[in-house]
């Protein structure tokens, strides 16, 4: 089967303050349809840059990048994005936020209303449909953001540290919710995180990235059934392996920052 995401030699260079910074270099990665892949690494490893490239917000400067079999030319509703900052439209109610993507598709009103109601009920948001985002908790906002992309039914979800700003209990709740949605709808998910446990809890494969320039350091498969028990020895064996890899990169990150400070 054709991969959902296919990257060959993807690189991305930025110019900041007159200096060329290589954020991504030589990324070869493919994601199978229906697979849940986590991109993991310390901040500055380019994992969000990579996700933004797949989303079509910032094209790579080298290499080829195919999503759903086509070269990525710009953002589009076949790759639904969930942002860390939720990015809900604050001037729209919960209901209007979720309906927005369907309205853009030009679907009939009745169909939109039915689909929105179904999603809001599914995600326990129905009672809050008339609220504005400012009146919701962080966890509820992120559920609205997930409902908003699910509404347009994209084959792929791109998630940029979506649960990073939430407290531990709410985070676990939403992780389980996401796994439920994923196993029901079988969407491809590319999930960016810097949480080692989160990555292992969710992913089929964890892609550990190097600190600047971001490269694929190692791809660690997680051969555990779901639901996963974070206290089990098997889980912790994977966690130990991944932690070592991430800590190496974290150490490089810290050395680099100290180096900059010493300049």
């Amino acid at each position: 089967m054709e991969p959902a995401v296919q990257m060959t030699g993807v690189a991305k260079a930025f110019r900041t303050g007159g200096r060329e910074v290589l954020a991504l270099d030589g990324i070869d990665l493919s994601v199978a349809p229906g697979e849940l892949v986590c991109l993991l690494g310390p901040s500055g490893c380019g994992k969000s840059t990579l996700l933004n490239a797949i989303a079509g917000f910032a094209p790579p400067t080298a290499g080829t990048l195919l999503a759903n079999g086509r070269p990525v030319a710009g953002p589009g509703p076949d790759r639904g994005m969930v942002f860390q900052e939720y990015a809900l439209f604050p001037w729209m109610t919960v209901e209007a936020n979720v309906a927005f993507g369907l309205e853009l598709k030009g679907e009939p009103r009745a169909a939109i209303a039915a689909r929105v109601e179904e999603l809001l009920r599914q995600l326990a948001l129905w009672e809050f449909r008339d609220r504005f985002p400012k009146d919701l908790s962080g966890g509820m906002r992120q559920r609205v953001a997930i409902a908003r992309v699910l509404a347009i039914d994209p084959p792929m979800l791109l998630m940029d540290e979506p649960f990073g700003a939430l407290d531990a209990l709410t985070r676990r709740n939403l992780q389980d919710e996401l796994l439920r949605i994923w196993s029901a709808l079988r969407k491809t998910i590319v999930f960016v995180t810097h949480g080692i446990e989160e990555a292992i809890y969710l992913a089929d494969r964890v892609v550990v990235m190097t600190y600047r320039p971001g490269r694929v350091k190692r791809i660690v498969p997680v051969p555990l059934g779901r639901p996963r028990d974070t206290a089990s020895p098997e889980f912790n064996a994977v966690k130990r392996e991944v932690s070592l890899l991430v800590m190496e990169e974290q150490a490089r990150h810290e050395r680099a920052e100290r180096g900059v400070a010493a300049d």
Binding site: G76, M81, F83, F89, P90, M92, K134
Partner: protein, 272 residues
């Protein structure tokens, strides 16, 4: 309750004392009535100015129309409708132009130099030219009011568009929004807090300009009426007119506040 009464007494104490002293001094003849009439005389004059000229006659039309047939209501309606019409013209040009200038650097670079030269000229300085171009009556007044409203709306709209958080644009594009929808449903509402600031400033300027324009070019309205009263040395009517102008300004302010609060009910820090 008693605290409420106490607060009320405190807040009216000084104004009441000033009015009483003013009334007493006027009655003693310290000020001539032509220079500073007693407050009671101003109130009487204000009432006359407000009241219908003819007794109510059902054959002439509705009661509401009769109630508004006095000189003051007619003047106030005239002035306010000029403000509204002029503001709609000025704001109506400034809003789309500001949206485009904020979003498209090319449009900004093309228009900015001309606008930056014109912007520091106070709209009132355009009075002679506007009379030359449009003659007397409403046209020059509408031109001046539109001009006065134009720049505050324009400048704030540009700032508003530039300050739209890129993440909303990304989110909308990700959901499939193209440029037209993006403008209407994302950029415009996201910039609304700035735009409304511009609208409020613009309306305020328009209200100043309408009074001056009526004094020089229109020969109708609240501004004209107090200038006319000076010719007859009717100081009581001048003051009554000034109070009316103040009340209209207050009314605009209250209305704008309400509108603001309703339009921005989604905004953080706005309590519904």
């Amino acid at each position: 309750m008693t605290r409420g009464v106490g607060h009320f007494l405190k807040s009216i104490a000084v104004p009441a004392l000033v009015l009483l002293a003013w009334e007493a001094l006027s009655r003693e003849g310290v000020f001539s009535a032509a220079i500073l009439p007693a407050p009671s005389q101003v109130v009487v004059r204000w009432w006359q100015y407000l009241s219908p000229l003819e007794p109510y006659d059902p054959a002439q039309g509705s009661r509401l129309a009769w109630l508004f047939s006095g000189e003051l209501p007619q003047d106030a309606l005239g002035s306010l409708s000029r403000v509204l019409a002029g503001f709609l013209i000025g704001g109506g040009v400034a809003l789309p132009l500001g949206l485009l200038m904020g979003r498209r650097p090319l449009v900004h670079d093309l228009f900015a130099p001309l606008l930056e030269v014109l912007r520091p000229i106070p709209p009132i300085a355009f009075i002679p030219l506007s009379i030359l171009w449009f003659g007397l009556g409403n046209p020059p007044a509408l031109f001046l009011i539109a001009l006065g409203a134009f720049f505050p709306v324009l400048v704030n709209t540009i700032a508003g568009v530039r300050n739209v958080d890129a993440i909303y644009i990304r989110a909308a594009q990700n959901l499939g929004a193209r440029e037209g929808v993006l403008f209407r449903r994302v950029i415009l509402p996201a910039a609304m807090p700035y735009i409304l600031t511009g609208v409020r400033v613009g309306i305020g300027v328009a209200f100043i300009v309408v009074i001056v324009a009526e004094m020089t070019a229109v020969n109708r309205g609240l501004g004209y009426r107090i200038l006319e009263a000076r010719e007859f040395m009717w100081s009581d009517k001048i003051i009554a007119g000034m109070i009316s102008i103040g009340l209209c300004g207050l009314g605009i302010d209250v209305f704008m506040n309400r509108l603001n609060r309703w339009l921005l009910r989604w905004h953080r820090g706005m309590e519904s």
